[in-house]
Amino acid sequence: MTVDVAQRADTAGDRVDHHRPRPWSIVWRLTARSWLNLVRIPAATIPMVIMPLFFTVAFAGAFSALVLIPGYPTDNILSWMGPFAALQGAAFTGLGASFALGRDIEGGFYDRLLLSPASRLSIAGANVFFVLFRTVIPVAIVLLIGAIGGMDIPAGILAAVMLLLGAWGVAAIAALWGMGVTYRIQKQSAGGLVQVGVFIAMFLSIGMMPVDLMQGWLPHVAKYNPMTYIMELARQGFIGEVAWESTWPGLVSIACGVTFFAIFAWRMFQRVTP
């Protein structure tokens, strides 16, 4: 009889193992839940739509005369500011992951998730996966405003592909940084600190002006800021043709940024896992 009990226990263990959900199905279901939250929590969704719209209109409107500066790379301000606004929108989307995570931690949902037999990597990865989906929205909004406002797109569809690639990179980096900080602080209020980090990186780059036209201390910082190269990658098709020399530094910056912040987020995640 004792053998039977042991055997039964083994069989039950096998069954549990057999029924453990696959990592992709966890990612998929958590992504679906995030989509639902997107609809159910307008306070979190509205900034994602409004901010790229506002950034594009405000930057292009307020600084439209910058194209008159000798040496400015384009005579169409929307072509310069549009991609900057799209990347800012993508950064906002990435930050949304940290707000959502903070909400789940404070509400106790995350604890319940950690008690489930789901793989830890899927739980953490679902946030980033959803961000990649969501990033399409600010990019589409900027392209739409650009099309209405008369944005030049010399590289055509390739310009949009490069913009999306850059936006995915920024969103993933912002999300991983935000998740790391939120795992550490365990509160929604971590969002404030996360925002500061992202926006400092954005503004210390070639967002509004090319490095050659900057003066003072900023060009020295912008030259070494990885965000400058991601911006170049995303913007190149709107001010000229897509070229490998403008693409690879951006790809390397994204790869390094994602790797660095993924390690940071994972280490912070391990602090909250029981």
């Binding site: 405000a58 005369a65 910058l66 900057m214």
Partner: protein, 276 residues
Amino acid sequence: MSVDDSLETSAEHVHTATPPLLVQTAALSTRAIRGFFRQPQLWIPGIVFPLLLAAVNSSSLSRASLIPGFPPDTSYLQFLVVSVIVQGVMFGAIASGNELTTDIQNGFFERLLSAPVSRPAILFGRIAGGWVFAAFQALLFVGILWPFGGTVRGGIPGVAVLVVMAVFLATAIGGLAAGLGARTGEPEAVQGFFPLVFIFLFMSSAFFPTALMSGWYGTIAENNPLTWMIDGARYQVIVGFDLTEAAKALGISGVLALLGLWFATTQVRRRWRVAA
């Protein structure tokens, strides 16, 4: 002595013991200022963010001063001095006004209502806390930006105009924030109001001359009251002290302050009625 007599005497005693409105307002303002400065998360953004943006923008957009139509003999940093003050005051006044919401949430507001405190003092005490911070911010920003080229050509009278404008603007924004807080009782609602204010600021001459803006955006910016206020104050910085321009800056900010106070008063009165 009858019971009635003794009651009257004690009522008179209580009445004489209640300090005058000004003293109550001063006491509540002191509490508001102390409470504000004890929470660095409330006042640090109002100092750091505008200075950081000024440092970045003055380096990034310095060549904008070469564009024909940009105010002559003016560096971009000098052009930004007023917008740094306005941004800082907006950050600070929203945080300061939002403290009324915190008072409502933690029950201090209700306790004040049950105490023999003059009701206007409750509101003015809170808003007056914002005045001190706004004046401090204006002087601090002028002091920090001056050595880097953000000179105020209007000298002491010019600086005085900037300080008074900052105080009026703090009253306007602080009043709006306090009114919203009194209406909703939710700090998130007050925080959510900040992007709207920022959009209003962006669609003005705060960051670029309206003469260099084109199309409908330029039209909105030119007709934005904030543009009139900022241009009047900017005149003191980039040209020199001028009474007409000063009156424009102070007049617009004064009207905004009155509107802010009116909104805050009506909303706080409404809450008093609800509490009663």
